[in-house]
């Protein structure tokens, strides 16, 4: 029996044209957990996130809150699941507050007005992500990390119980990578929000995720706690790069180090291997 707010994927398959993108993926995530989806380029991470968030049709294979995603209406789904994608550069300069306010959209009818409660809710979300001093600043003028935090604030205003993020720390410097992931972890644990995100950096995944899924060529190779998934032999096989996993003395977590391939393994053979695997 699943808990009320759980995300369950059962034998998820996705085929685009002749290419099998995902094969028999199973996942069971309980509320308040931070889930990291890992894997090399082309492993199917983004496709899996799109299926889990309802952006791609999942048929009878994905359910949230004991209800198949296929049975949710567009607005009902948006009330439950928030998606944080990279924003296109808009030609029209919306400010942070206007972007965050859009999170109210699934909760408003065509005729309903904004209330003072809404304004307080928006301010609260912006304060939670630490951007209260930039409320009226043009969104495109914010740094990458601030934009990402702004979009997380929008997800909070959306009052979603599940937040799905595709590579949320891409293009961010080290400081903002930690800021954004720390924020997501604290939101998950304090507000009981489930966070599912794809990550490239395994050390960040080890530090901030409760549950990891390792994908390769559309297959789920391993899932579980970071200690279960971040296993040197497995990582070496998936990422085709020598690797070592050690205990991190700083925070008792894990530390993953990749090393340059041996001299006798030519770059060309690595490239060819990678090419056939995509």
């Amino acid at each position: 029996m699943s808990s009320p707010c759980s995300l369950i994927a059962t034998n998820v398959n996705l085929k685009i044209g002749q290419q099998q993108i995902l094969s028999d993926i199973c996942l069971n995530v309980t509320a308040g957990k931070v889930v990291g989806v890992l894997g090399p380029n082309g492993a199917g991470k983004t496709s899996l996130l799109k299926l889990l968030s309802g952006q791609l049709q999942s048929g009878n294979s994905v359910s949230w809150n004991n209800k198949l995603l296929a049975n949710y209406g567009a607005i009902e789904l948006a009330q439950q699941i928030a998606v944080v994608n990279q924003l296109n550069d808009s030609v029209f300069a919306l400010n942070l507050e206007q972007i965050v306010r859009m999170g109210l959209l699934p909760h408003k009818t065509l005729l309903s007005k904004h209330s003072k409660q809404d304004d307080l809710h928006i301010q609260d979300a912006i304060t939670r992500v630490g951007l209260e001093h930039k409320t009226l600043q043009s969104f495109s003028s914010l740094s990458g990390g601030e934009q990402q935090r702004g979009l997380i604030a929008r997800a909070l205003v959306q009052k979603a119980a599940l937040i799905v993020l595709d590579e949320p720390v891409n293009h961010l410097d080290v400081y903002y990578q930690h800021q954004v992931l720390k924020l997501l972890k604290s939101l998950a644990h304090k507000l009981n929000i489930t966070v599912v995100m794809s990550l490239h950096d395994l050390n960040l995944a080890a530090n901030y995720c409760d549950h990891l899924c390792l994908l390769d060529q559309g297959h789920m190779l391993a899932q579980g706690t970071p200690k279960v998934v971040l296993e040197a032999t497995l990582l070496q096989q998936v990422f085709r790069t020598p690797c070592e996993v050690t205990q991190n003395n700083q925070n008792s977590g894990l530390r993953v180090d990749f090393y340059p391939p041996a001299e006798n393994e030519s770059a060309y053979s690595l490239f060819k291997q990678g090419e056939t695997n995509v």
Binding site: A74, N85, S90, V91, F92, L94, M102, L105, L111
Partner: protein, 340 residues
């Protein structure tokens, strides 16, 4: 309400009143007032007031408001600040539809084919905007299709597709007029340049509901239109039915453009300039841009029409010449601003 909104609201209220003073005949404020309350002593002045100036001012305001709203909507759904009903071929599509209606219902060909006898209840008054609407609808979807399927949806591609469709449909409508009408030159000039010279007050009663209903629907969907600014995928994740909203918005653009082009010809660049100014001055969210475009677009067109009436002695300049002159400079400035 901020000072800017007060200023714009007063301008929108006072502009039509102020424009009533301008024209070939000198009418004083007291004479205008007497005419307005039906106590005009000179029947000629009464005629000028009720049959010439009032229709022009009312229709002019609605034309400006409608074109500006159509432009703002096109810019919003394409996320392209250079979108405009004229540049995107909507005006030409409406012109083509109207040309076909002219040919079938209001020419010797119509009489020869007995179309008016075949559809006795479908008068030319209704056939014209309806046919223009179908033409505009065809153009707007054709440009979208070309831009997305053939050329790619980048701003420049959409613009090029729009300009190409615009020329194609204009050429077709001019050809149709030349084939079907012995004295087509006047009509071609009308479609090319636009004019408020022959407007009648009942034009306003047709345009008013179209503009009011369109603005009402766009204001209702304001929050959804804002979400479209984030891109289709992001809007969908907020629960917006993107395809349905896009079709509705394009139909509104087509309806607004069609009812204006049917009666006043092709007037360009208003839909490009006005929303641009409103965004820079008042804000970028859809509801702000729509209301601002109604007020500023209306004021702009009323004063452009005054200029068209008084700039030359004993002659009127087609209104489209003035809007194109101002708009083309504005277009170049906007392009340069985007590049910077």
């Amino acid at each position: 309400m901020s000072n800017k909104w007060w200023l714009l609201s007063f301008a929108a209220l006072l502009s039509p009143l102020g424009a009533m003073f301008f024209g070939a005949a000198d009418l004083t404020a007291s004479e205008l007032y007497r005419c307005a309350v039906g106590a005009c002593q000179d029947p000629t002045n009464s005629l000028i007031f009720w049959e010439i100036r009032l229709p022009r001012v009312l229709v002019g305001f609605l034309v400006g408001a409608g074109l500006a709203v159509a432009g703002a909507t096109l810019q919003n759904i394409t996320r392209n600040g250079l979108a405009d009903p004229y540049l995107f071929g909507v005006v030409s599509g409406a012109g083509l539809g109207a040309s076909i209606a002219t040919l079938l219902f209001d020419s010797s060909m119509g009489e020869r084919w007995g179309l008016l006898q075949a559809f006795p209840d479908f008068s030319f008054t209704l056939a014209l905007p309806f046919s223009a609407f179908l033409g505009a609808l065809f153009a707007v979807f054709f440009v979208q299709l070309l831009a997305s399927k053939t050329f790619g949806s980048r701003t420049e591609h959409m613009l090029l597709a729009g300009v190409a469709v615009s020329f194609m449909l204009s050429a077709l409508s001019h050809f149709i007029l030349f084939i079907g009408e012995p004295f087509a030159a006047n009509k071609v000039i009308f479609w090319l340049m636009g004019s408020l010279a022959r407007v009648e007050v009942w034009y306003a009663w047709i345009m008013l509901p179209v503009v009011l209903v369109s603005v009402g629907i766009l204001l209702l969907y304001g929050r959804h239109m804002d979400a479209l600014l984030l891109g289709d995928e992001n809007a969908k994740t907020l629960g917006v039915q993107v395809t349905r909203l896009r079709i509705l918005s394009l139909a509104i653009c087509a309806a607004l453009t069609a009812c204006i082009v049917s009666y006043c010809g092709g007037i360009g660049f208003v839909g490009l300039m006005i929303p641009h100014i409103v965004r820079n001055w008042l804000g970028v969210t859809s509801r702000v841009v729509i209301i601002g475009s109604v007020l500023l677009g209306g004021c702009f067109m009323v004063w452009v029409d005054v200029l068209a009436r008084v700039a030359l002695d004993n002659q009127e300049i087609p209104i489209g010449i003035i809007t194109a002159a101002i708009g083309s400079v504005f277009f170049l400035m906007a392009m340069s601003q985007r590049r910077n």
